[in-house]
Structures are given as C-alpha cells and as structure tokens.
C-alpha cells in the first residue's frame, strides 16, 4: 500500500512538472503558428484577395490547434461583430502574457481594415514583432522548459525518500 501511494505521489509530481514545462512549449508553438498564419494571410491577401473568414478557415486544421482558440474567437468576431478585445480573443486562456496578448489583439484588430498594400505592410510589421516574441518564448523554454519536469522528478524522489 505504502509503495502504491509513493508511486502515485511520484507520478503526480512528474505530471505537475510536465504541465509546468509544457506551458513554455505551448507558448513557443503558439507564436510560431501565429507567424505561419500571418505569412499565409500576407500571401493570400496579395494574390487571391479572398475574404478574411475564408482565409482563416482554410488555415491548416492541425496547426490551428496551437492557436489556443483565438482563430475561432476571431471568426466569431467576423461573423457577429462587436468589439475585439483581448478577453474575447483569448477567453480564459492565460498561457500568453498580458503584454503579448495586447500585441496579438492589435494584429487581429488591424486585419481587413486597409487596402492590400497597407495591409501587407502591417502584417509584415506584426510578423517581426511575433518573431521577437517567439525568440523570447524560445529562450524561456530553454531556460525553464526542462526545469519543470526535472523539478517534478526530484520532488517526487524526495517525497519517496522521506516516506521510506
């Protein structure tokens, strides 16, 4: 019984550590996917000039998962109108820092508001900002990403030792 309890505690610590680590991976993946989306929008707006809703919907289904639901929230805004706020875009998701959310919200707010030339410039500007955010997220992932899992394992082992 004691061993089973120790096993469960160890697993819990590792899972908590992993969840802590995956937060950094998800942030990295979010920004890299956002860059891909922005690049796609830039190309399509320049060449096909298709409506935003269609462009977002046609973005790779698998990649859309990494966008933390902001694509769906943006489509809802396109369909139903109203104000596009950070809360509306990100919902209760708190993986992205509030200052980064603001940058992403400004990007989505600027979409569809100007002619091809200016829209393309704005998207390119946003891509460079996203690249900076991706770099930050990437260095944070390097710094703290594996730390969480390691800490989880160490804590789990420590608990086992104490219990023994």
């Amino acid at each position: 019984m004691k061993w089973i309890l120790m096993g469960i505690l160890f697993a819990c610590c590792v899972v908590v550590g992993y969840i802590f680590s995956s937060k950094y991976k998800k942030r990295m993946s979010f920004f890299s996917t956002l860059i891909l989306l922005a690049q796609k929008l830039d190309v399509e707006i320049n060449f096909s000039r298709e409506r935003l809703k269609k462009l977002i919907e046609s973005f790779d289904e698998k990649s859309r998962g990494a966008l933390l639901g902001i694509d769906k929230a943006f489509i809802d805004y396109l369909e139903n109108g109203g104000e596009l706020t950070g809360e509306r875009l990100f919902g209760k998701n708190n993986l992205i820092k509030s200052e980064d959310r603001e940058i992403v919200t400004i990007f989505f707010r600027s979409l569809g508001r100007s002619d091809v030339e200016n829209q393309s410039k704005e998207i390119k500007n946003s891509i460079s900002r996203f690249e900076k955010l991706l770099n930050d997220a990437s260095s944070e992932n390097k710094k703290y990403g594996k730390l969480g899992t390691k800490l989880g394992i160490i804590t789990g082992l420590a608990i086992i030792i104490i219990l023994i």
Binding site: E50, L78, L111, R113, S114, V116, N118
Partner: protein
C-alpha cells in the same frame, strides 16, 4: 437585407418602424442626421421611425460609417479596394453603398480611399413589370432595338433594365442576353431575376466586358448600366458593328441635357440608338416621361 452591416440600433428601427419595401436610399454623414429617402421624399431617421424634426433625428458618426464599410466588405477592405477606388462597395444581394472620403492619389493614380465620411446606401427594388409600358416600343418584330434609358440618379434605370431582361425571358424570346454588370447592381443574385437566357459578366469595364463577352458568349443583346465615358460609347459602337443589339442607360435629367453630353454627340448623329426612354422621379422613381425615336420625336407619351 442589411443584417450584419448596419448597427443593431439603426437596423431595429428600420425593420420595425419603417417599411423596408418603400426605402430608396439611406444616407449617413459624419456628425449629421441619418436621412432616409422614400418615394423621392426625404426624412430623418429617429428613435420612433421617420421624423422631420432635427432634434429627434439620430446622428451618425465616423466610427459608425467606418464600421458599416468594414462590415459591408465582409471585414476585408482589401478585397473591395478596386470598388472603393471607384467610390462604392457592392454587398451581397446587390446593395450599392456609395462612399465619400479622402481619395489617396499617387502619380495621378488613385490608390485607395481613407477617412470615410459619408455613405449612400441604395436599396434595390424589384418592381415587376415596370418595363412593360415601354416594352412594345423597344421590341419590334421580335427584335430588340438599340435603346438608351435616360434618367437622373435614383429614377429607376437599373430596375427597368433588370425587369426588361426578365420580361424577354418570360415571353420566351430566347435571345442570348449578356448582362454586363460593371458595378454589380444588375445581378442581385436572386434566382430567376434575370430570366433564363442571360449570361452575366460582373465588375468588368465596358470595353473589356463587351470584347470578351462578344467573343466568348456570342450574345444577341447586351444590357448594361451607366454609359458615361467615350470609352463606353466606343464599346457600344464595337458591339453594334459586331451585330449585337444594345440596351443601356445613362445619367441625364432631360433630353436637352443628354444631347449636350460631349461623349454622345457622334453616336446620336450616327443614330445608333433607335429608341430613347426618358425616366424621372416626378411621380416617384420610375416615372415614364416618354419614348423617343432616333430623331428624338416622341413615339409614346405617358400620362
């Protein structure tokens, strides 16, 4: 009709307190009252519906205007920039929204329009049989004579053309009709509205549309809206020389004004158009003032 485009409060008032079927146009100007035109008469839009007192009117503002344009473009202004450059946006369903603002020019070329300050939303109406009064003057021995509809803005030119195409089809006059819809107003997308024998080319300039249409669709008759420039007249001449008949429209409030239009002088002399139909707003949009032959003699008077 304008759901998702007009702000909810304005849409609710118009839907509940104004009869949509009677509205000709809706004008919004920044920091000015919203004006509705019904049967040629102008009213302010108020919380209670149509009002005549300024202090009861609802005022529009720049944000409202920008938002309507954004929504009308399906949240994608870049996709309708070519239309914006020409001063309008067409929504799905054939509603034309005229836009006022700052035109941005670079080296003499219009690049876009910004700082939108006014809107004119024209509500299209399908008035069944409105072209019948003049139908027999245009169609002679099962042949459609080259005809020009002359009318001031908002007098029912487009409605006439649309109904005429339908009437041809309804009488089984199986002409291959090419509808050259430069501004996207003739084809409202409503099923059957343009009959069963029509092909549509949208958003093409007259010259390109006529040349491509004649080459690829071999029409018997071309129907088009708003001939204005010399290039349009040349396109008409090209079509007539190819043996295609024309039914078109142009802006003018009287025959006298029309005759003075520089671009038309030569084509009038050449008697290309065999019929001229004059419409006005005298008794509301679509008032027939008369049908005239190539010598501008009346063939029919309407009272």
């Amino acid at each position: 009709m304008l759901e998702g485009i007009l702000p909810d409060n304005i849409l609710n008032i118009i839907s509940n307190k104004v009869n949509w079927q009677t509205v000709n146009e809706l004008r919004l100007r920044a920091d000015k009252p919203i004006v509705i035109t019904i049967g040629g008469n102008k009213f302010f839009l108020g919380e209670t519906g149509l009002v005549t007192k300024l202090n009861e009117a609802i005022f529009s503002n720049k944000t409202m205007i920008e938002d309507i344009i954004f929504r009308a473009s399906e949240c994608s202004l870049y996709s309708v920039n070519e239309q914006i450059k020409r001063g309008y946006i067409m929504t799905r369903g054939g509603i034309r929204i005229g836009i006022g603002g700052n035109l941005i020019e670079e080296a003499g070329v219009i690049k876009t329009m910004t700082n939108f300050s006014s809107l004119n939303i024209r509500i299209p109406h399908e008035i069944k049989n409105c072209s019948l009064k003049a139908f027999n003057n245009i169609v002679s021995n099962d042949k459609v004579l080259n005809t020009l509809i002359i009318a001031p803005p908002g007098a029912g030119k487009t409605t006439f053309l649309r109904d005429f195409v339908f009437q041809l089809s309804d009488r089984n006059l199986a002409y291959n009709v090419l509808v050259l819809d430069e501004r996207g107003e003739l084809d409202t997308g409503k099923r059957g509205a343009l009959g069963n024998f029509s092909d549509v080319i949208s958003f093409a300039k007259k010259k390109v549309g006529f040349e491509n249409g004649i080459r690829s669709l071999s029409p018997d008759l071309i129907i088009t809206d708003e001939l204005n420039e010399q290039e349009d007249i040349d396109a008409v001449r090209y079509a007539v020389n190819c043996g295609v008949n024309i039914l078109a429209s142009t802006h003018a409030d009287s025959l006298e004004t029309f005759i003075k239009k520089e671009a038309f002088k030569k084509i009038i002399e050449e008697k290309v158009f065999k019929r001229y139909i004059l419409l006005s707003c005298r008794e509301g949009p679509g008032t027939f003032e008369g049908v005239f032959n190539e010598n501008f003699s009346r063939t029919q008077i309407f009272y």
